[in-house]
Subunit: 220 residues, 2 copies
């Protein structure tokens, strides 16, 4: 394949419109929290699908788009997934994480019980394609896979928040069981498990502080 | 530190509003392209700052927020940064990447010349804090740094696109020179260089195809 250039001439927004859109998204995103207590209430499915489509617009190394989004609603699969995750987490919280890590997690109030895996109406399991598997069994290298899939997940979480849906970015480690349970091919590796829904009526979150813009920005 | 729970009761959007917002963001994001030919025209700075603030709302391992955004406008620093990047890229394109990688890049039409590093009005260099450096020189482990910073960059790119600004996710590898040139501490490692601005009037992009939702989605 060679380079086929096409013009790219997106309409410019007037400055005041650009500023208003950026400010409004910032306000919306600053209200986002990772949620671990979900309502079972249904959410509009098309909004979840659109959010996955947004994720799939992410840039990627060599435009390889090395991601698969597994949307799990089957209650039986969800139950088995939760059991396997909680089994790993019991080992993790039981000592595998080590003292420093457990200390770092204490303010979050997390433990090995993971109701969000069965309670939220949707579960998106994001897989990264570590390499390409051709139909004839051939293998091709993928570039910047972690970066690309991370960026796609950032777009996914933004879209969910914009649509008023709550989510959690969860990594029930080690995550090997996810590929096995969901029948993913050997080139795919789980990146995160993302329950999606509305917060439960009695939802609580840890009282955390975000860094201010000044704390994360350096100007040169 | 211990767990201090606070209620989280975000207002629910009506279904039609949730659907409209998700659909509108999807449409906007599907129009995004990685841009390598920038106009020197100024863009509203507050929109860029708001986009960085959006990035900094990302979830992160143990809520460590392991990111620094260096916003570079100084022309002299930009020039040196471009020279250093192009020096690395000449070695890369001259053979360091290898045949398979160069083949994978051919459809993008990229080469070692990187005008966007000096032409775009803003350059955001994103650093990941591989570990925490305390004031007394102590070191603390950070968790899921690649994932967290990738997600933050996905939020950044979404916010820029929503504000009508074009960007490129660029990795002029190896990226060591970036920390040296920008005087970053030893716990920080460059993740990507992101020029931001409007596309040049004669901007072209490769004629690439995105995977459809069907190609990236699996339902269970
Ligand atoms: N860093 C080089 C090469 C390059 C370019 C694009 C891309 O998707 C990948 I993977 C690599 C450059 O920036 O030209
Ligand atoms: N995977 C465990 C532990 C955990 C939790 C939160 C977090 O930010 C980090 I880093 C780890 C769990 O999900 O409980």
């Amino acid at each position: 394949m060679t380079f086929h250039p096409v013009p790219y001439r997106p309409a410019r927004l007037p400055d005041d419109e650009a500023l208003a859109r950026a400010a409004s998204l910032r306000q919306r995103m600053e209200a986002r929290r990772s949620v671990r207590m979900f309502s079972a209430d249904p959410v509009p499915e098309r909004a979840v699908l659109d959010a996955i489509a947004v994720a799939s617009t992410a840039p990627s190394g060599a435009h390889q788009q090395p991601w698969t989004f597994v949307l799990v609603t089957d209650p039986d699969v969800r139950r088995r997934l939760r059991e396997a995750a909680e089994e790993e987490e019991r080992i993790s919280y039981g000592g595998r994480l080590g003292e420093a890590w457990l200390d770092a997690l204490r303010p979050l109030g997390t433990d090995a019980v993971k109701p969000h895996l069965t309670d939220a109406p949707y579960l998106i399991v994001v897989f990264q394609q570590r390499f390409a598997l051709d139909e004839d069994g051939g293998v091709r290298k993928h570039y910047y896979v972690d970066e690309s899939v991370g960026i796609a997940v950032g777009m996914l979480l933004t879209a969910l928040q914009v649509a008023g849906l709550a989510a959690l970015t969860h990594t029930p480690s080690p995550m090997r069981f996810l590929g096995e349970l969901l029948g993913r091919p050997r080139n795919e590796k789980a990146f995160a498990v993302i329950p999606v829904g509305y917060p439960a009526d009695d939802c609580v979150v840890p009282d955390l502080r975000r860094k201010s813009l000044d704390e994360v920005l350096v100007r040169i």
